[in-house]
């Protein structure tokens, strides 16, 4: 059983090796191998998710192999309630991205090799329990991203975009690396194992002075990786130049590495630092929600619009984290998962359009819903999910963060509600109006829908994910909640309790109606 996680991570790597050995003329075999390993990996991740025991604290499915014991570095993977959902989401996105890679027709061997490396790295990062592997897996995923944008990217801007994203993300990753090393040294446990470090810090908390300089390193390091305003401008640009699968995987999953690091490491281990910086995060998240929302309104390029909206969505996650409440951080994790599926879906759809039009200028589009009802309907649903429509998982997460944050930051939260409900709707509906609605444009007459099963499958899978978690959010929240409770208990240590008053009357029993007489003899 313990091999399960390692196989989920290892399959894509094995696939990459296999691809490297297959002669480049066997294009069909290369693609089939990639599809097979990602599909099996996805199925295993689904099995992992269903077998996961909700409400049990600590890591499950742990698998350890000693590597460099003298330095305290060991291969160790495991999942808790937070990471199990993210890994499932990542595996679904990975499979969908591989499906949609049919647009790549040159240097396929290199492409699929890099793609599978990236997928393995992504899944590994979220499963790692060792800081060294945590970071190394992330780099395994990050470097292929740069290469893929540079080689298979689109548009005149692709070199600048690739350069931009490389510089930004490298700086972010470096800052985070310094922070992580400093943290493990300061913890004094002579280990990179998150569990050991956490236990050591629980026993002997870091001093305020140490937290005061490590926390901002991690905050801004991870923050840059997640496009925290004003370090966001790499994201829309990079995604608009990236090939479809790369944008899907990076915006959907890899980007969440920073958030995961904040929630898993920075906040619980450095309560003083986090309590001091939450005000700042709350203000910066408005930059994401409002500023980038306004920027998104003016975009005429569909991918820039999606990219900016994706940056705006990160604001709600930061808001949830800034509230430092169980409700807010649980909501943040729900958005991480929901947004992963949504971003992948949106970029998948825009890729489907770009593949045929070679442009994403919305002024030239119009009436696409007529020629492509399936992809068009998927796009309507994606845009609606993006502006927080109930029924999709994004709504659940966003409303949780807003409910949690009002008590702590009333003004910021009120503006965030405006950003989520009104600003989001303005640009999402504008996209529907210009791309799908209206008279069929000349370009629209040539559009082809996703017809075959394999073309429809990636969109359908992502939509099903969004709908299932949106209609029945307890599939995630029941798993996430206990873990977040523990994290928040550590993060709010020493803070006067700011918990919301729990309702004295419990959910299911309702008081008898006023008029009913007691029918007892």
């Amino acid at each position: 059983m313990s091999i399960l996680l390692t196989s989920i991570i290892g399959l894509p790597f094995a696939g990459a090796l296999a691809v490297a050995m297959i002669p480049r003329n066997n294009r069909l075999i290369i693609r089939s191998v990639a599809l097979l390993v990602t599909m099996v990996s996805m199925l295993l991740a689904t099995y992992l998710f269903s077998e996961f025991q909700s409400g049990v604290l600590g890591y499950q499915f742990v698998h350890e192999i000693a590597w460099i014991p003298s330095l305290g570095i060991n291969y160790a993977v495991g999942v808790d309630g937070i990471s199990v959902g993210i890994i499932l989401m990542g595996a679904i996105v990975a499979f969908a991205a591989t499906c949609l890679s049919h647009e790549i027709t040159e240097r396929e061997k290199e492409y699929y090799f890099l793609l599978l490396m990236m997928i393995g790295g992504i899944l590994g990062a979220f499963a790692s329990l060792d800081l060294f592997f945590f970071f190394a897996f992330h780099e395994f995923a990050l470097i292929p991203t740069f290469i893929m944008i540079g080689v298979w990217g689109r548009g005149e801007n692709k070199n600048y975009a690739a350069f931009n994203i490389t510089i930004y993300l490298t700086i972010g990753a470096l800052l985070a690396l310094f922070g992580l090393i400093a943290l493990s040294v300061q913890a004094g446990a002579n280990s990179f194992d998150i569990r050991v470090i956490t236990a050591a810090i629980k026993a002997k908390p870091l001093t305020g002075a140490v937290q005061a300089w490590i926390f901002p390193l991690l905050l801004f390091g991870f923050g840059i990786l997640v496009s925290l305003w004003p370090f966001h401008s790499w994201a829309p640009l990079g995604y608009s130049a990236a090939p479809t699968a790369t944008a899907m995987l990076h915006a959907g999953v890899l980007k969440k590495f920073g958030l995961y690091g904040l929630i898993r490491i920075a906040i619980p281990l450095m309560p003083i630092g986090s309590q001091a910086w939450m005000q700042v995060i709350a203000v910066l998240c408005l930059g994401n929600i409002l500023f980038c929302g306004f920027v998104a309104m003016r975009q005429r390029d569909l991918n820039l619009l999606i990219g900016n909206s994706s940056v705006a969505h990160m604001g709600f996650i930061f808001l949830g984290i800034a509230s430092l409440t169980t409700l807010g951080v649980t909501g943040a994790v729900v958005i991480i998962i929901a947004h992963g599926l949504l971003a992948a879906l949106s970029f998948g759809i825009s890729g489907h359009i770009y593949h045929q039009t070679k442009t994403l200028d919305m002024d030239q589009m119009g009436g696409f819903l007529k020629p492509m009802p399936f992809v068009g309907a998927a796009m309507v649903m994606a845009m609606m999910a993006g502006c927080g429509l109930p029924g999709f998982a994004n709504f659940v997460g966003e409303s949780m963060t807003l409910f949690a944050a009002w008590k702590v930051f009333p003004v910021v939260t009120s503006l965030a509600v405006w950003g989520g409900l009104v600003i989001g709707a303005v640009y999402m509906l504008r996209a529907i109006r210009s791309v799908l609605h209206g008279p069929v444009s000349p370009m629209g007459e040539r559009m082809i829908d996703a017809v075959s099963f394999w073309r429809k499958l990636p969109f359908a899978l992502l939509l099903i994910g969004l709908l299932v978690f949106g209609v029945w959010p307890r599939l995630i929240t029941d798993k996430v909640n206990p873990c977040v409770e523990e994290i928040i208990a550590m993060a709010t240590f020493g803070q006067p309790t700011a918990k919301v008053v729990p309702p004295p009357v419990k959910g299911k029993q309702r008081p008898p109606s006023r008029k009913r007489p007691a029918a007892r003899p």
Partner: protein, 638 residues
């Protein structure tokens, strides 16, 4: 849900609730290419819900609330949300109205949309809409109500934009959704604040807590009330968020009947009645709104309702599109209902909501029948003489008109009178305003009927009109029954059995004259005055005499007081300017200056370093020697 016994009538509540959803899903996934079948599935689902709802009519004779076992949908850290259904008299009444009127509109649609290529999509959206509406009606907590509130928003978006290939329809559905979203902003924020202060979203818990300690909300009380009212403002199209409703006439006419008569626009009023307890707490305003002093949230609601009723009636007087006249009339009647809620007359509001649902649905369907018969002609000045050509449509339309004007003994008289009486007791100024609006209502409705149905045909399409098929006229006739009879039985007595003990038909018929004769007499006088004016101006008229008599005033009324234009300008200077600035800052400041700065520095460094890489061994040796010298200097300096 699985452990509940299907034999219990309570379990059938879930069937009522989920039938339309099942229909929507089945149509979307399986019967997309079988339009006939899709239509029947949708009709069967909504009529099934309607019939099953009567089960609860019996149950509610013995008790006030039927308990339906609920499911915990979300429970994290104090936020506990149920998926739970609340059956009491108010929700049952609304349920019967929504599914009953909905069934007739579904049947009418089967005829009206017969030749549309997207027939299945139409019925799937219709079913989704009914499901969302049932969610609002039956929700036992505010969070769930908000969820379905949003779903109503999106399904109306799909229906208004049903003919999305038409630019005007595509714009209209976008406008409707966005305007509603502004209202939803307030609604959600109100729910969040209410939950933070009172610790629950459950309606019954909230009511208990707020009744037990009315000062619980403190200075936020008024603000919460207004924010929640914002939601109603959006859905029920109250000024200043009323602009979406007239444009929404771009949807198919049966959709207008469903959305704009019986369901979506009524949702706001229903929600206000449902959460009325939050307006009965100790009043208070936060510091920034302290200037409001003794004015309560309810006062503001009443005034907004009255004002909406007035301006909408004024706009209706100068419209020429048959559907737009009805749309503005809907706005105006909704203003009445909201005003009534603001004057603490929730029963009167619900009463008028119910009767209005019947006769306005009938009027819209009648208009649909006229449009269908007149080959999609909507301008009343191009109609005329339809009386003989569409006898059934004409008769039902006249009954609906008279009910809307408030002529006894039709249902509209009783419900409108109850609102007038409430206004008379509470606020004399609003009473005068309401009577004025009643006069105008009669005026524009008589204008519509006289111009469209009497006189001679003024166009070819009106000349060759002939009565719509049976599938469309039967729903009209069926709707005429409650339009005539709903007043006889006193719906107010059903809603509030404690206040009305004796009940016989004659008591109900003459109740208005006994309760507050003043209001009843003024209401009747308004009908007579408005009717006389309209007849004298429009009988046998070939074109509208008002623009000449009233000059620019008529123009302003026709152009809706230029509110849409003012909004467009306002949005341009606020949101437009902000997004322009943000975009410019993002483009030139952040990515331009900072990022390109970083890139530039790196680039220059790279170029500079490349100069060093000359490949010339002597250069390397020279640099090496210099470096060694510098290091030695540092080492031996001390």
């Amino acid at each position: 849900m699985s452990d509940t016994n299907l034999m219990l009538p309570e379990s059938w509540a879930w069937v009522i609730f989920f039938l339309p959803l099942i229909s929507a899903v089945v149509i979307t996934l399986f019967t997309r290419n079988q339009p006939q079948l899709s239509g029947w599935i949708s009709i069967a689902a909504v009529s099934g819900s309607f019939l099953l709802s009567w089960l609860f009519f019996g149950l509610l004779q013995q008790t006030d609330v039927v308990q339906v076992p609920a499911i915990t949908w979300l429970s994290v850290d104090g936020l506990s949300v149920e998926l739970g259904l609340l059956f009491d008299r108010m929700s049952l009444l609304m349920l019967l109205v929504v599914t009953g009127v909905g069934t007739l509109i579904h049947i009418f649609s089967a005829g009206y949309m017969k030749d549309d290529p997207s027939y299945s999509r139409y019925f799937a959206s219709l079913s989704l809409f009914v499901f969302s509406m049932l969610g609002i009606v039956l929700a036992n907590n505010l969070f769930m109500m908000f969820i379905f509130w949003e779903l109503v928003g999106v399904s109306s978006y799909l229906l208004i934009g049903f003919w999305f290939g038409k630019a005007s329809a595509a714009d209209a559905c976008k406008k409707a959704f966005l305007t509603n979203r502004v209202g939803d902003f307030g609604f959600l924020l109100g729910i969040i604040i209410l939950w933070t202060l009172a610790g629950s979203v459950q309606l019954d818990h909230l009511e208990q807590r707020l009744v037990a300690s009315p000062a619980m909300l403190g200075t936020a009380a008024g603000l919460v009330g207004l924010l929640i009212f914002m939601g109603a403002m959006g859905k029920s199209a109250q000024f200043p968020l009323h602009v979406w409703l007239p444009d929404a006439m771009e949807g198919p006419t049966p959709v207008s009947a469903l959305i704009h008569a019986a369901t979506m626009v009524a949702a706001g009023v229903y929600m206000l009645c449902r959460v009325f307890f939050i307006y009965q707490v100790t009043p208070g305003w936060p510091a920034c709104l302290a200037f409001l002093g003794n004015i309560s949230a309810l006062d503001i609601i009443a005034w907004i309702g009255g004002f909406t009723a007035l301006i909408a009636a004024l706009m209706a007087i100068q419209q020429n599109d048959i559907k737009r006249i009805l749309a503005y009339s809907t706005l105006s009647q909704l203003g009445y209902m909201v005003m009534s809620v603001g004057l603490a007359g929730t029963t009167a509001a619900m009463y008028h909501l119910t009767t209005h649902a019947f006769f306005k649905a009938m009027l819209f369907l009648g208009a649909g029948s006229v449009i269908y018969a007149a080959h999609h002609e909507q301008d009343i000045w191009k109609m005329g003489g339809l009386k003989e050509k569409l006898p059934t449509t004409f008769k039902t339309f006249v009954i609906g008109t008279l009910a809307l004007c408030g002529l006894p003994p039709l249902s509209g008289f009783f419900s409108k009178d109850e609102i007038l009486a409430t206004a008379f007791n509470q606020n004399k100024f609003l009473f005068v305003l309401a009577v004025l609006v009643a006069t105008m209502t009669t005026f524009y409705m008589f204008r519509l009927v006289i111009v469209a149905f009497f006189g001679r045909a003024r166009s070819d399409s009106a000349e060759h009109a002939h009565e719509s098929p049976r599938i469309m006229t039967v729903p009209l006739i069926v709707l005429a029954v409650p339009t005539i009879l709903a007043g006889f039985f006193g719906l107010d007595a059903f809603l509030n059995p404690a206040a009305h003990v004796s009940a016989n038909i004659f008591d109900h018929l003459f109740a208005p004259f006994n309760h507050s004769p003043f209001a009843a007499v003024f209401g009747l006088g308004a009908v007579l005055l408005g009717g006389t004016l309209a007849v004298s101006l429009y009988w046998q008229a070939q074109r509208d005499p008002l623009p000449e008599k009233m000059q620019c005033l008529a123009q302003i009324m026709r152009d809706r007081f230029y509110l849409d234009e003012i909004y467009t300008a306002l949005i341009a200077v606020t949101q437009g300017a902000l997004s322009f600035l943000a975009d410019a800052a993002d483009r030139y400041l952040i990515s331009g200056f900072v990022v390109r700065g970083v890139q530039g520095t790196t680039d220059i460094m790279g170029r500079a370093l490349r100069l060093v890489q000359t490949g010339n061994l002597q250069n390397y040796a020279f640099v090496l020697a210099i470096s060694v010298a510098i290091i030695l200097l540092f080492v031996f300096r001390n």
